[in-house]
């Protein structure tokens, strides 16, 4: 059918865009791309009932995620949109709000029936509107997080950050603090020698192996999350685990910048599946001998346990790790998670 091939084309193009970009686009742009893609899919598919909508969303999201395993954002966005749809239905119906405290995992049968047969036509416009709201929220999340920097970073702080070059959120977080007149020093942990020269002016770049000797003089550590989970653990770029362990040893608070669309409602049982192992880091002149003998690991992420993180800085507020489970209720519907 026309719409089907259209949808397939859209999805393929989306995946290719993701794969083509190296280095990886910022997460917020990927999130916005996903939102647009899903909006187009819904528009083309034109589901009649709520149940149809949910089914199509889950199937598309699963397939997209399967082709790009390290991007958890895709599933997140899909589930968020599904929740938005449910909310719209409930609003239209004027039904009672499902109270998570008093109901168990599943809604009662009556609500489910109603939802299944809900007519999409009536709520489509509102759904489109709320999807647009979602994308504006994603866009504004960076500024919201940056504005919280004034509450977290004080004068005469020595802040250690990681991956300043690759994260625009981190960059805006720090520049906001600098602009509002805070006088603090920033130590940036960089990956390679090249980044050492291109660091911005207010930043001192150091390499990962020097972190231990600089940690005693650091007063705060700021990391950026790739994803965070309901138990309070998170995925950070590789190298973050050591920084967090050293910070814990020296009793330095660790703040993790985590916009809402990175909140994954599922626990990750096997983070190894997320990795994109890339370049061989051995020197070139060894490559002749070492072919077939040397296995170079170049992991993309490190998993931080929740006790290593002091605060997650989200676009709404700062939350402690144990609160993440409650926060996910705001964005995801428990039914969706259960059915996934």
């Amino acid at each position: 059918m026309d719409s089907n091939t259209d949808i397939e084309d859209l999805k393929r193009e989306f995946i290719f865009t993701l794969r083509r970009k190296f280095p990886r686009d910022s997460s917020s742009s990927i999130a916005i791309m996903t939102v647009n893609l899903i909006r187009k899919i819904i528009f083309r598919e034109n589901p009649r009932t709520m149940a149809d909508l949910q089914r199509s969303l889950t199937s598309h999201c699963k397939r997209l995620h399967a082709s790009e395993r390290s991007e958890l954002i895709i599933i997140n966005i899909g589930l968020m949109i599904s929740k938005l749809a449910r909310d719209e239905v409930l609003q239209k119906r004027g039904g009672r709000e499902p109270e998570p405290l008093y109901s168990l995992w599943r809604d009662d049968d009556e609500t489910m029936e109603r939802l299944k047969n809900a007519d999409m036509k009536k709520i489509r416009k509102d759904l489109q509107a709320s999807i647009k709201e979602l994308s504006t929220e994603i866009e504004s999340s960076r500024e919201c997080i940056a504005s919280q920097s004034t509450e977290l970073l004080f004068n005469n702080d020595i802040v250690m950050v990681h991956s300043l070059a690759t994260s625009k959120t981190m960059h805006s977080f720090l520049t906001h603090a600098v602009k509002s007149g805070r006088k603090h020093r920033v130590i940036d942990v960089v990956d390679e020698e090249e980044h050492l020269e291109t660091a911005p002016d207010f930043v001192t770049p150091i390499e990962l192996f020097e972190v231990a000797s600089r940690m005693p003089e650091t007063s705060k550590v700021v990391l950026v999350a790739a994803a965070y989970f309901p138990d309070g653990s998170c995925l950070v770029p590789a190298g973050g685990h050591q920084i967090a362990l050293l910070a814990k040893r020296h009793c330095v608070p660790v703040y993790v910048l985590a916009p809402f669309y990175k909140l994954c409602p599922f626990f990750m049982t096997d983070p190894a599946s997320l990795h994109s192992f890339r370049s061989n880091t051995l020197p070139f002149d060894m490559s002749a001998n070492s072919a077939g003998h040397v296995d170079c690991l170049h992991p993309a992420f490190d998993a931080l346990q929740s006790d290593l993180v002091t605060l997650f800085v989200s676009n709404t507020s700062c939350i402690i790790p144990s609160h993440v489970n409650r926060l996910k209720e705001d964005y995801y519907h428990s039914q969706d998670i259960a059915d996934f």
Partner: protein, 536 residues
């Protein structure tokens, strides 16, 4: 003049410098004649031949320097500075003619370079009756030449350090014979010649032209403290080589430093004993004299105490000094022999036998843990790993490296050369390596009395990740690495001036020495056993 005190100080110890200075003057005079001499040289009386040379030199240099425009500007700057000084001194000279004569004398002295003092006395007698304008002119020229000569002197000193006595003439010929080289010499002299501490980058210009890169490193350390420059003549070349190699970061770890130091010391001892035999000195004072002789060598290595020796090397040196003091033989030759034997023994005990003992102890443990993780390079660890891999077929090795293409690649290379498999990970993946591994083996630079381990940068992070995943951390240390001090926060010499990280004893599971495997807090026991105490 700013140059004068420096120059007068250098006079004293270095007569050779005076000779070379004379030679330089001769050469420059001939150069001046080649380039076209002006009238001043002919009008001066022959008695003050030096004075004529000096006055021709600025004139020679002026047309010469028009070719070299950058140098010309700098020459002008120097000349202006000299002019200001000349004006100041002119006012003094105008007030008292006698005072003028005496002020000119100290100016002359450095240029005379220890020649008979009659010539300077003649010059003021000539100059004083002249008009003040000529006086100013003379002053200006003389101050310029003073500065030039002083700077030349420094460049000569620089050249001299790098060669032994015999090569000095060739060095001078190099710097003055070929025009190109002379130009380079002038490059060093002219810029900011008013101030006499040559910036380091200029020193390297000289070196890169005539000498190899190794020499340039030595010069940079010497020029930074001008007073020591002439003392380098007494430093044995073996130690100079050692210092140069370490500056170039060719020495990757403490063991190599120790081995090289012992070898350098053996060379020094051989030469010193031979010289002693030639001088027919008493054998009874052998130990005492050797002790005195070794002090300036060590002082140079540590830059007069600014950079203390690496901890383990400090131990070795102290033991060596103890043995030297106890030496008591009939003849010089026998004393030398005893010490040579002692050094040989040290080499074998501390290095080859120690490695074997440690690997014997450790391979037994590795048998239980199949997966081994190591951090950065250490020759002892490498030895242990190779032994273990031969004996244990299914051992898997992961190497964590501080930065990409760092020293950890040596481990990889040694394994790959034998056809074994190995995993390689940079610091980013340290957490993953620890998650997979079963034991972390570390080398170290030193172990302190409280059990703290001094290791390379990045070791602490690896140890913390290992602790997080609950895998044991084993540190390998020969007995001479134990130090009777608490934790010290210092930089060390001779290792590329790297900083060291300290790992607290509670993070380390065990220390393997060539005596036995111990817990880290048992360090004082090793100190006592090997009589390394009271060494602070």
């Amino acid at each position: 003049m700013s140059g004068n005190p420096n120059i007068t100080e250098k006079k004293h110890p270095a007569d050779k410098i005076k000779e070379t200075f004379e030679k330089l003057k001769e050469e420059l005079k001939t150069l001046g004649m080649i380039l076209g001499v002006n009238n001043d040289s002919t009008t001066q009386p022959p008695a003050s031949s030096t004075h004529s040379k000096e006055s021709t030199k600025p004139d020679d240099k002026n047309p010469y320097h028009k070719d070299v425009t950058a140098d010309d500007k700098k020459a002008r700057k120097a000349a202006k500075a000299a002019e200001k000084k000349a004006r100041a001194e002119k006012s003094v000279a105008n007030k008292a003619a006698a005072a003028a004569g005496s002020t000119q004398q100290p100016q002359k002295k450095p240029e005379q370079a220890g020649k008979n003092q009659e010539k300077p006395k003649q010059e003021p007698k000539q100059v004083v009756p002249d008009s003040t304008a000529k006086l100013i002119e003379e002053n200006r020229q003389l101050t310029k030449t003073t500065e030039q000569l002083a700077a030349q002197m420094e460049s000569l000193v620089v050249v001299e350090e790098t060669k032994t006595n015999g090569d000095l003439k060739s060095a001078i010929k190099k710097t003055t014979g070929v025009e190109k080289n002379v130009r380079h010499v002038h490059n060093v002299i002219m810029p900011s010649a008013v101030t006499f501490d040559l910036p380091k980058n200029q020193v390297k210009i000289v070196a890169s032209d005539s000498d190899e890169g190794v020499a340039s490193e030595i010069e940079s350390t010497a020029i930074s403290q001008l007073d020591d420059a002439t003392c380098l003549a007494h430093i044995h070349p073996a130690f100079l080589t050692l210092l140069a190699q370490s500056e170039l970061e060719k020495i990757p770890d403490v063991e190599t430093v120790c081995i090289k130091f012992i070898k350098a010391f053996k060379e020094f001892l051989r030469d010193w004993t031979a010289e002693r035999e030639k001088n027919q000195t008493e054998a009874s004072s052998f130990g005492h004299d050797l002790d005195l002789a070794i002090r300036p060598q060590l002082a140079h290595l540590t830059q007069n105490g600014h950079w203390p020796l690496p901890f383990a090397l400090g131990n070795t040196v102290r033991l060596l000094k103890r043995t030297i003091k106890r030496v008591d033989d009939q003849t010089n030759a026998e004393c030398g022999e005893t010490l040579q034997n002692y050094l040989e023994d040290t080499l074998s005990i501390n290095f080859s036998s120690a490695y074997k003992a440690i690997s014997q102890l450790l391979v037994r443990k590795i048998r239980q843990f199949k997966k081994v993780v190591v951090f950065d390079w250490c020759p002892v660890v490498n030895h242990v790993l190779l032994d273990a891999r031969e004996q244990i077929e299914d051992m898997q090795l992961t190497v964590i490296d501080a930065n990409s293409s760092g020293r950890g690649t040596r481990h990889v290379k040694s394994f790959v050369d034998r056809g074994y498999n190995v995993k390689y990970v940079t610091m980013k993946g340290a957490s993953w390596a620890s998650r997979d591994g079963a034991v972390l083996i570390l080398g170290c630079s030193a172990i302190f009395a409280n059990g703290a381990v001094a290791a390379q940068k990045g070791a602490l992070a690896s140890v913390l990740t290992a602790n997080h995943y609950n895998i044991p951390v084993i540190v390998v240390a020969e007995h001479f690495k134990f130090i009777d001090k608490g934790q010290v926060y210092q930089r060390v010499a001779l290792l590329g001036r790297q900083n060291i990280e300290f790992i607290q004893s509670d993070l380390v599971t065990a220390v393997v020495t060539d005596l036995r495997i111990l817990g880290p807090t048992s360090a004082p026991a090793v100190l006592k056993a090997k009589a390394l105490t009271d060494m602070a």
